[in-house]
Amino acid sequence: MSLVEPIGNSLSVVVPVFNEAANAAPLVTRIVEAVRPLDIPFELIVIDDGSSDGTPDVLRELIEANPELVVIRLRRNFGQASALQAGFDRARGDIIVTLDGDLQNDPRDIPRLLERLRAGADVVSGWRLNRQDAVVVRKIPSWLANRLIRWVTRVPIHDQGCSLKAYRREVIERLDLYSDLHRFITILTMPQGAAIEEIEVRHHPRVAGESKYGLSRVLKVLVDLTAIQMLTRFRESPTRWFGLLGAPFLLGSLVTGAASLVLAGSLVVLPTVSILLGLVFMSCLFAALLGEAIIDTLGSTESNRVVAREWKEER
């Protein structure tokens, strides 16, 4: 008996691009060259996220020579998470692979990712051990962010930012990406109970076009991390989350309350502080109730989202 459900064969490669006219042709060629020899049915979905440099026209020309190519042109720039979601919504393969449109990921790693999926992983994430980026603005902040994310979420992935990833279709169907959630995609698969693995992948320096990331995103990542933490670990029990948040205030309220009783005659300040802290705790409780109400009305299909596999005889 085995928990491994055999995975279908077909593959969707999903690539969001933004102003990559110079990279578009080599990107498509390289992916197609890497995947064709595998002899599996596949499609390459390139999402143009509102480029202004003629990227969609370049891509369109490539369809004739590469019938596997599907180009989704968005009305304007919606950001990477939405672009990826557009690709996921269209993807028809049993396996979905994502990578960056800037040629820094190497499509020749795709077969290795697929192997791990066949061996039972639900998500395989790339790890750019030999990362070819600026040290100060890219590598160090990213190293710190990854440490922090690993510590907070306990998802043992070293390189959240690597776009080269492979998923079972079921995992992607249970995801809804918006805003900048693509950065936390592996973490978001965790509540599903997805088996997450990591393998080393190649990384190339950027040859054409411009990098679209900057240092400022580190701050956003920190704020988002708090939200992600709640959304993944506590999404089914907001009362616990808000209870934890409120606990120190309850404690403070009790301590100051006791102190004001002991130091009787000592005035107004301590009792007032005690009452204030108690109110903060109460408002955390109210928030918990609202949270429960939200989940009760909107999140009631939560059980659909956990991966459940049927036990099957190994073939």
């Binding site: 599907v70 009305r75 919606f78 557009a86 959304l231 205030f249 300040v269 502080v273 802290l277």
Partner: protein, 332 residues
């Protein structure tokens, strides 16, 4: 006069009568020939808010003259332009929709050029008023409103609140039109992923906007900008705003409490110091802000299943798609 079947209407002209209407017969006489020039079958739809009885009588007269092409809709209560327009959008039969104010403003002679903008790829064309005959006081107010809106929303529209617009029908399905959001229509259309174009149109010499409004109106405008700015920046990630506010207040409060605590250790009694209350209050407000932000995130996360924030312009693919379409394995 021939009856017009639904399919034969190409252009709908919506005229919401919601504030200070001029003589509608004059407006009608000025607008009608400009729309006629476009050479397409069209209809006029007057949307009359409950409080305007004279205007209602005037448009009824117009309706009697051409029952098929002049439609009148009367609301049972006073409504805002946004509400009147969404009712109009629902009933409009044309593929192209004009909105024209019930008072003289941007010259009706500009309507053909708005139409031309739609034909060349715009989804919404808005008449930005030039050569204004409004008083300097009114113009300063308009400019201030535009500046503040640009700043609050990170967009650039030179005359966002202009009531003379042309838009494609498909656009209106995606708009959250309520309250006073008609003032931000170009912004909403832009946010929904459609193309907005500004077309300069002379202001009609008969335009007579009041110089000064009630204090309440100004207050409402400011709050509108606040809410639209919130919608523009933070609807997708509420914690980024509330988290920042919460961190600021909570940090300040913690700092105060820390200083008081240190001073207590050094010998100064903490009891009786009112700054202690300020510290505790700030921490409390900070926690509340973070809490609200987190609840917002929770709401959005679960709502995301039903929302797609992108809009597809076009899909290019080979005649034979590479993979056959597939049923989703879970209900979404």
């Amino acid at each position: 006069m021939s009856a017009i079947s639904e399919r034969e209407v190409a252009i709908s002209v919506l005229i919401p009568i919601v504030e200070r209407p001029d003589d509608l017969r004059e407006i009608h006489r000025a607008v009608w020939p400009e729309v006629e020039k476009l050479g397409q079958p069209f209809e006029f739809v007057y949307l009359v808010s409950a409080e305007f009885d004279d205007a209602f009588q005037q448009v009824l007269e117009l309706h009697e003259l051409d029952r098929a092409r002049v439609r009148v809709l009367r609301f049972a209560r006073p409504v805002s332009e946004a509400v009147a327009l969404s009712a109009g959008f629902e009933r409009a039969r044309g593929e192209v929709i004009f909105t024209v104010p019930a008072y003289f403003d941007a010259s009706p002679e500009g309507l053909p050029s708005l139409y031309a903008a739609l034909e060349t790829g715009a989804d919404l064309a808005i008449a930005t008023r030039t050569h204004r005959s409004d008083s300097i006081v009114k113009r300063i107010q308009t400019r201030g409103f535009n500046r503040l809106t640009s700043w609050g929303t990170g967009t650039r529209f030179s005359d966002i609140a202009s009531g003379t617009r042309a838009l494609r029908r498909e656009v209106v399905g995606d708009l959250p039109l309520y309250g006073d959001f008609h003032r931000f229509l170009p912004l909403l259309v832009d946010r929904a992923g459609y193309a907005v174009r500004e077309v300069a149109v002379r202001q009609d010499a008969r335009a007579r906007a009041p110089d000064v409004y009630r204090v309440r109106d100004y207050l409402w405008r400011l709050l509108d900008i606040l809410s639209i700015s919130f919608l523009s920046y933070f609807t997708r990630r509420p914690l980024r705003l509330f988290g920042a506010v919460g961190a600021l207040f909570g940090g300040l409060g913690s700092l105060i409490l820390l200083v008081v605590a240190i001073q207590r250790v050094m010998g100064q009694p903490a009891a009786g110091r009112s700054i202690l209350i300020l510290g505790a209050l700030l921490v409390g407000v900070g926690v509340q802000a973070v809490t609200v932000g987190l609840l917002g995130e929770l709401l959005l996360f679960f709502q995301a299943r039903h929302i797609r924030s992108y809009r597809i312009a076009e899909i290019y693919e080979a005649a034979e798609p590479p993979l056959p379409a597939k049923e989703a394995s879970i209900e979404n």
